[in-house]
């Protein structure tokens, strides 16, 4: 398992990359996305909010690579600048559900008994809802803001982290090295936090990567139906929603480019998650 892999990890890493060229592609895409998120506002050739009615709905050209939208704003600049916001929402949501979910899941897997029963019931209840629908309901109640999109996305992702953490902790609970840590005089809480928890991180990383893609989709979906981010803020979901009106009359570039950016980001995280899973546990490949 993951613990045993540590020593020849570099060699194994290269082996997995060679076996699976798709993962290399995903790594390259990740670098591009992170670069855009970090330097997007500096690189954007135009102000993403500056409208110019004289220059509205122009198709892609040398001056405007992705064309201009119905207010004459440069679509390329808007797509580029939106990267940071879209990533920020999904990373914040995933980080939140990772922290809460892995804590709850570890406690459930480690202590069992009524702790496990209560946490299991919470997980089952969240999973009894279609997740996107639950997210809509939560945003409706908490109020329509970006912050609440993050909370809603975090809540609907919780069950995945709870389940993985619970399963991974409960198989390690009685492992030899854990017993050794106990016999060395560590308290139960210390054993869980310092001996077991670091060892469940590799499978959790896979979950995070797979989940990031779905968190981006979820957040963009919510803003597509008019929740969370408000215009004129550049954000991929809302840009697709604004462009939707113009698709029927043939102005495809308004919706295509933000949609493609969204797709590439999600695709990248999904492929990366698969690659990480191969790296950590080749048997789970599907």
């Amino acid at each position: 398992m993951a613990e045993a892999l540590r020593k020849p990890f570099g060699g194994h890493f290269l082996y997995v990359l060679r076996e699976n060229p798709v993962t290399v592609l995903a790594f390259a895409m990740l670098c591009v996305i992170l670069f855009a998120a970090a330097f997007g506002p500096m690189l954007a050739p135009y102000d993403p909010l500056a409208s110019n009615a004289m220059n509205a709905l122009r198709p892609p050209s040398a001056a405007h690579w992705f064309g201009t939208d119905h207010l004459g704003r440069d679509v390329f600049s808007r797509v580029l600048v939106a990267t940071r916001l879209d990533l920020a929402i999904s990373v914040a949501a995933v980080a939140l559900s990772f922290v809460v979910g892995s804590t709850l899941g570890s406690l459930a897997g480690f202590y069992g008994g009524w702790v496990d029963a209560v946490i299991g019931r919470i997980t089952d209840t969240i999973m009894a809802f279609p997740l996107f629908v639950l997210a809509m309901g939560i945003v409706a109640v908490l109020g329509n803001s970006v912050e609440n999109i993050v909370y809603a996305t975090a809540v609907v992702n919780l069950p995945f982290y709870i389940r993985v953490a619970r399963a991974e902790v409960s198989v390690r609970r009685t492992a030899g090295y854990v017993e050794a840590a106990r016999l060395a005089g560590n308290s139960e809480a210390r054993v869980l936090a310092l001996t077991i928890f670091p060892n469940i991180l590799p499978p959790m990383m896979v979950q995070i990567s797979l989940n990031l893609g779905w968190a981006i989709l979820n957040a963009a979906g919510l803003s597509f139906i008019g929740l969370g981010v408000r215009p004129p803020t550049p954000e991929w979901g809302i840009m697709v929603a604004e462009g939707a009106t113009y698709i029927i009359s043939g102005e495809w570039w308004l919706a295509l480019f933000p949609g493609a950016a969204l797709m590439l980001a999600v695709f990248c995280f999904n492929l990366l998650g698969d690659g990480l899973r191969d790296l950590i546990d080749p048997r789970k490949r599907t």
């Binding site: 798709v22 809802f129 629908v133 997210a135 109640v141 893609g213 999600v266 695709f267 999904n270």
Partner: protein, 341 residues
């Protein structure tokens, strides 16, 4: 044997009760944790102090939480899900009138996804690590990475604007057709029952693009699960035995391997259905489909909370019912169930 299987089915039905209770509790909490005074929201925009007080008494907001919960459950069972602010009609009526449209779309999408993903998964499993396998993996990952609303728009652009083969993406039937007599509420089935093949074609033409959009999204989990469970089945002893006995490849592959590999796929369908119910909302928006999803979006934008909560509750109940149905089918189909005890 038969009796024990019936017992297992009954136990599965009983096992859905905690989920139902959980769903009702969560929707109750969602109803009661609105920021500010719920009575003000539910009384409507034109409410004065008197009607707010009346609403508070009607909703029982002046009583304890437990009493409120009991009366909430009572009203749910009595069919009183509140009144929609936008339309002024009962939420339950609105939802039940729109549900067939959503279900028709979801089921059409699911059928398409199963029809494509299962053969794809089997193909990939028979040639692991070949280019077919890699291609299959990339295609299904791309499918799940596509934002449904974006796929929908793109298909509209290709087939409506460029090719001109699809009808305009506005609803379930073009205005030149009359809606069929209401039997199931599924236009394709109702028109076929009425023998009105001209309208059937019209309804089908409207259904194809949104169903395709939904189906693309559902390909990945089904294809992956099919591939994984087919791989496991193909390496099992009974498949080796069947091959050694000289059975034809087709018989080994479909009867022996796939017959066993299908059960995990069936279980995955529950999760797929959850995704589809969510994606449905977005697809209905893109295609102006008059289903529950469009209704919920309008309600969200108009702060029509009774309608939103009715929608969340209805979708959750539907999902619990679908999971139960899958469990029961699983119990009835798998000959091993009931033998191990």
């Amino acid at each position: 044997m038969a009796a024990s299987r019936l017992g297992i089915v009954a136990r599965r039905v009983g096992g859905a009760i905690p989920s139902l209770v959980g769903v009702v509790v969560v929707t109750f909490v969602l109803t009661r944790s609105l920021p500010g005074d719920p009575a003000v929201y539910f009384a409507g925009l034109m409410a004065d102090a008197e009607s707010i007080a009346a609403t508070r008494a009607r909703l029982g907001l002046d009583r304890t939480w437990i009493e409120q919960f009991v009366s909430y459950v009572e009203r749910l069972f009595a069919g009183d899900w509140g009144v929609s602010l936008q339309t002024g009609r009962p939420v339950l009526t609105e939802l039940s009138q729109r549900l067939p449209a959503s279900l028709e779309l979801t089921l059409a999408g699911l059928l398409f996804a199963i029809g494509v993903a299962v053969p794809l998964g089997v193909l990939a499993a028979t040639r692991p690590n070949s280019w077919v396998d890699h291609l299959c993996r990339v295609v299904v990952t791309a499918g799940v990475s596509l934002p449904t609303f974006f796929t929908g728009l793109f298909l509209v652009y290709l087939f409506y604007f460029l090719a001109g083969v699809a009808p305009s993406p506005l609803g379930r039937l073009d205005f030149i057709y009359f809606s069929p007599p209401h039997v199931t509420g599924f236009y394709t089935i109702d028109t076929a029952l009425a023998g009105d093949w001209w309208t059937f074609r019209g309804a089908l033409a409207q259904l194809v693009l949104p169903a395709l959009t939904l189906g693309l999204f559902a390909l990945a989990p089904i294809a992956r699960m099919t591939r994984a469970s087919m791989l496991a089945a193909l390496s099992a002893d009974f498949v080796r035995t069947a091959t050694a006995m000289g059975l034809s490849r087709r018989k080994v592959l479909w009867t022996y391997a796939f017959g066993n590999a299908f059960l995990p796929v069936l279980t995955t369908l529950g999760m797929v259905f959850s995704f589809l119910l969510g994606a449905n909302v977005l697809v209905e928006r893109v295609f102006s489909w008059p289903g529950v999803g469009s209704f919920a979006i309008d309600a969200l934008v108009a702060s029509d909370y009774a309608a939103v909560q009715g929608f969340v509750l209805a979708m959750a109940l539907l999902f619990v019912a679908v999971n139960l149905l899958i469990d029961v089918i699983y119990t009835l189909v798998d000959p091993r169930v009931g033998l191990e005890g």
